[in-house]
């Protein structure tokens, strides 16, 4: 069959199109496009079916594992696909590694080195126990994240645009420095001992729960990378769709209860908002996919991310 590859403005991206055998998959097409264009490796390509004029809705994205004939509506000798360049891509592993490395390195700098004299605070500073525990807790958290990135998580999309590296690193690194500055400050005021213990204790329990949630999510996905969605189940997932985000948010709450800084709470609120956005999208996606029709199970009634609010 002949595949015509056009850009969104209608221009032919591959002159003369591409000839492929009738049983070819989308992945084969992507390889062929890469071979012809050199620059556009498969993870950079977004291939969709052309939109019908006047019809609303999202364009249908071609899935790499499916066969091209599955997208042909009748005419199996010709297919037109719309090509979009997603820009330079990086592996999600790479993205996560760099964004988490920042906080892991930056926070201890504020703890160990005399940075505050550059802010005008001369002299020795007294370090409270809570500040030491906070540093261990923080480093444990980000080390855990990096470990999970390499050994636990299974990613549905292997890559992310390069621009996200800058955006995400700015977010994590800036907040990391912002919080580290206040918790390790020479004029830091600690909370009482009981509050500190409750905060860190609760936080640690949530971190362990969060790790377990990640293990459960990993085991939902097939090791040969089908990437298909399953209804999450087990442990907290029976009550809330995105239990992993829930435990993450509560884990930060624990940290803040123990360290009590506005900076930490601001970070908590922003992170919670971002995760809630993701959770709503995931919940909606799962409900739409598992609609109870055609033999598919129906998605059970569950909290989205933060019972009893949402």
């Amino acid at each position: 069959m002949k595949v015509t590859v056009v850009s969104r403005s209608g221009r032919e991206v591959i002159k003369g199109g591409i000839e492929l055998h009738d049983e070819a998959t989308v992945s084969d097409l992507q390889e062929a496009i890469h071979a012809r264009t050199k620059k556009y490796y498969p993870s950079r390509q977004r291939l969709t079916l052309p939109m019908q004029a006047g019809i609303q809705g999202k364009p249908i994205v071609l899935s790499p594992k499916k066969k091209l004939v599955d997208y042909c509506d009748g005419n199996v000798k010709n297919l037109t696909v719309v090509f979009k360049d997603l820009g330079v891509q990086v592996l999600y592993r790479t993205l996560f590694f760099w964004e988490y490395l920042g906080p892991l390195v930056i926070y201890p700098i504020f703890y160990y080195f005399p940075v505050y004299k550059y802010f005008g605070y001369e002299g020795e500073r007294v370090v409270y126990p809570v500040q030491t525990y906070a540093m261990y807790y923080w480093c444990l958290h980000y080390s855990k994240r990096i470990m999970e990135t390499f050994f636990v998580h299974r990613f549905s999309h292997a890559t992310s645009p390069l621009s996200n590296v800058f955006r995400n690193c700015a977010y994590y690194w800036t907040f990391g420095a912002y919080i580290a500055y206040y918790v390790n400050h020479p004029m830091y005021t600690p909370v009482n001992d009981l509050q500190m213990k409750i905060g860190f204790g609760f936080g640690l329990i949530c971190q362990v729960s969060n790790f377990y949630c990640h293990i459960l999510l990993r085991n939902l996905r097939n090791p040969n990378g089908n990437g298909g969605y399953q209804i999450p189940h087990g442990f907290l997932f029976n009550i809330v769709t995105c239990a992993n985000y829930t435990t993450e948010i509560y884990q930060w709450l624990g940290f803040n209860i123990a360290t009590q800084t506005i900076a930490g709470y601001v970070f908590l609120v922003v992170a919670a908002l971002i995760m809630t956005n993701w959770a709503l999208a995931k919940h909606r996606r799962l409900k739409k996919l598992f609609d109870g029709k055609e033999g598919r199970p129906r998605y059970p009634r569950r909290w989205v991310i933060l019972p009893p609010f949402i």
Partner: protein, 197 residues
């Protein structure tokens, strides 16, 4: 500033512009023309993206309340006149334009042209006035300690208004070209659409 009869007169003009009819009220009222997103999840009056309206509203409120109202020493500066003139002309044209569209469903082509052309001059004059006044206010901000929160405190928080103002100044560096480019793009779209209409 060298005291001279000319400067003193312009200082008077600046102060008069500041105390002019409903200056603070009008600038603050701009807050109500919140922006419209593509997904319209918020009720809105204006269909512009956040990245274009938020900086404008932010800078208006900051200059009006954070600088001019908070530091009376700045009100005598000539840049207050240029600021008020730039903002006023822009807003008169802009709101007439929106008002006509809401009330009559269309706006005359000369008003469309004004809306998408006066910014070519008024953005530079307005932005220069804002940046200039910010800069002029800096020594007063530093000396007064106004709005500053110092450590130690129970919530382990601090805020330095002087540093925040420097940051605001820094934002003008990428912010101004961004706003200008945005309006240039809007101009191209609006004026070409009216030609084909």
């Amino acid at each position: 500033m060298v005291p001279s009869p000319l400067l003193r007169r312009e200082g008077f003009e600046g102060r008069r512009a500041y105390h002019g009819v409903r200056f603070r009220g009008a600038a603050s009222a701009a807050r109500t023309d919140c922006r419209g997103h593509g997904d319209s999840s918020w009720p809105c009056l204006v269909r512009s993206p956040v990245s274009a309206t938020l900086p404008q509203i932010g800078s208006r409120l900051f200059l009006t309340w954070g600088i001019l109202w908070s530091f009376p020493e700045t009100r005598a500066h000539i840049l207050v006149s240029s600021l008020v003139i730039s903002w006023s002309i822009t807003e008169i044209i802009r709101y007439s334009f929106f008002g006509m569209k809401e009330a009559f469903g269309f706006a005359p082509s000369w008003l469309l042209w004004l809306r998408y052309s006066t910014f070519l001059i008024l953005y530079p004059t307005g932005i220069t006035s804002e940046v200039g006044l910010l800069y002029v206010a800096l020594p007063y901000i530093k000396a007064s300690e106004k709005y500053c929160i110092r450590m130690p405190n129970k919530w382990n928080f601090s805020f330095d208004y002087f540093s925040a103002s420097i940051l605001a100044l820094a934002i003008y560096i990428p912010g101004s070209p961004h706003m200008y480019q945005y309006m240039l793009g809007q101009r191209r779209k609006a004026l070409s659409k009216s030609k084909t209409a």
